[in-house]
Amino acid sequence: MKAPRWHIVVIVAAALAFPLIVRSDYYVHMFILALLWVVIGSSWNLLAGYTGQVSFGHAIFFGIGAYTAGLCATKLGISAWWGMLLGGPIASLIGLVIGWICFRLRGPYFALATIAVGEIFRLAAVVWRSLTGGMQGILLMQSFRSKLPYYYLALAIAFGCIYAIHRVMRSKWGYYFIAIREDQDAAESMGVNAFRYKSLSLVVSSFFTGLAGAFYMNYMAFIDPEVVFSLHHISIMAILVGIIGGVGTLWGPPLGAFIMVFLQETFRSSFFGLGPRWVSELHVLVFGLLVIFVILYMANGIVGDWDKIRRLGSSKAGAASASAGKGS
C-alpha cells in the first residue's frame, strides 16, 4: 500500500499537534510508548518482513541500546543521553557479529538461533552483576519533568526510522532484500551476495532498535534485564506488531504498534477503570485471539490486506463478509 503524499502531511501535522491539544500526560505517555513500538516494529519488519529473516531476538538490540545508555551514566559518569549516539552503532556492531554466526542458517533455523542468542544476552545481563547491576537494574533521574521533549524526540526517531526504511527499500538494497526473501538461491544466481545483504539489513534494523532502547532508558529512567531483554515483552511483541499491521509493508508496523499499545493499555487498566479488575489479566489472551483472527482472515496484516478489508466494508451483506464477520 502506498500512502499518498497528503496522507503523510496529515499524519505528521496531527502527530505534531497531538500533545498540544491533548494535554494529558497519560495519553502522551501512551503515544510515546506507541512511537517506541513503531520504531521497534518497523526495524523488525525490515529484517523479517522485507528480507525474510525472521528474528525472535530483537530484544537483544533493544537491551543493548538501553544498557549502553544506562552504562554511560553508571560506569562512565557521562549523561545517559550519550547513549542516543552510541546505542545504535553498538547494537549494529553486535548485530553484525550475531548475523555472522546465525546467517549460516536459513528459515526456521535462523529464527530458532535468534531465540537462543536472545536468551544468552538476557541471562548474561542478569548474571554479570559487576557491569549491569544484575536484577537490580539501572535507575537514573529523568532529565525532564514534562513529557513534551520525550514525545517530540520519540516522534523524530519514529519518522526518521520510517523514512530511512522507505529510502532503503527504494534503493538497490531494497530490491536485493526482497529477492533474498523470495528465493535466496535465485538471488545468488543473479549476483546477490545474500550473506552481505542480510547483514546490511540486520545492521540497519539493529541500529534503530538500539536507538529505541537508548531512548527507553532515558525516558523510563529504569531498566532491568527482564524488561529490556525480555523474549515475550520485546522480541515477541515486535513480531506481533508486525503481523497485526502487515509484514513487508511500510505502514503496517506503525499501525500495528498503535493497535497493540492501546489494546494492551485498555485491558491492563481494565477499560480505563470502568471494568472489573480481573479484565486486566486478559490482555495476553486478547493478543492471542487477535493474532489468530489476523492469521485466519488477514494473513497479510491490516495494511497488507487493506484492499480486501475495504471491499468487505463496501459490499454490504455479501456472503464473504458474512463469513469473515463472524470472526470478529
Binding site: 534503493s171 538497490k172 530490491y175 536485493y176 523470495e182 528465493d183 538461491d185 544466481s189 551476495n193
Partner: protein, 239 residues
Amino acid sequence: MSTPFFESHELTKDFGGLRAVNELSFHVNEGEIFGLIGPNGSGKTTVFNLINGYYPITSGHIRFQGHTLNGLPTWKICKLGIGRTFQVVKPLRRMTVLENVMTAAFNHTESVVKSRDKALGVLEFCGLADKKDASAKGLPLGDRKRLEIARALATDPKLLLLDETMAGLTPQEQAEGVALIRKIRDSGVTIIIVEHIMRVIMSVCDRLLCINYGQRIAEGTPEEVANHPAVIEAYLGKD
C-alpha cells in the same frame, strides 16, 4: 595453444557413494551455442550446478576466461559473467516482472535509474515488455521461462546457461524460444544449453556433448552425435 573461453577439466561430483559426474572434460568456444544432452538423470543439471557454484566440486576444475571457478560462491560466478536459468523456474513471486529483471540488472550498477533502463531494454529484447507490471506469481509458464532468460540476461553474462527453457512449451512458443536463443547468441553471448527436445537442440546448437551416467559418450556436430551408436543406445537401449 590458447586457453579456451570455457573449459571443464576432468570434472567429478560425488553425492555420497553416487558419482553423478565422472571425469567430464569439454570446452566451449566463444560465440558458440553448445548443447549438453543425455537421458534423464545423466547429470546435465548437476554439471550446471557445478559451474554455477551451487554444489562444491569433488575433483577436477572449471575455468572461465582464465578464472578458476572452483570454490567461488554463486554470486561471484555471476559477477564474472556467467548467468543461468533454472529448469524449475524460480520467479521472485511477490515482485513484478520488471522488478525481477531490475534485481538482476543491479549486478553491475548501484543506480536504480540505470537498472530500470537496462531491465526495460532486456524485457523489450525478450518480448516481455507488455507484461512488465504483471506480478511474477501469476505468469503463465511460457512467460515464466522467458522471465528466467530475461533475468539471466540482465546480469550481463558473457556465458549463459539455459536449463530446459523449452520444456512444457507449445510448438509455437518453442519456435519463438529458438529465435530468442539465436538472437541472444548474435548479441555476443556464448550459450550452453541443456534440452530434451531434440528438434530444438538439433536446430540451434553448433556442437553437442552427450553424456550418460555423468560420463561423455559422444561429442561433435549435432548430426555426428545424433547418429552415434552409443547415443542411440543410451536413449533407446540395446536390442
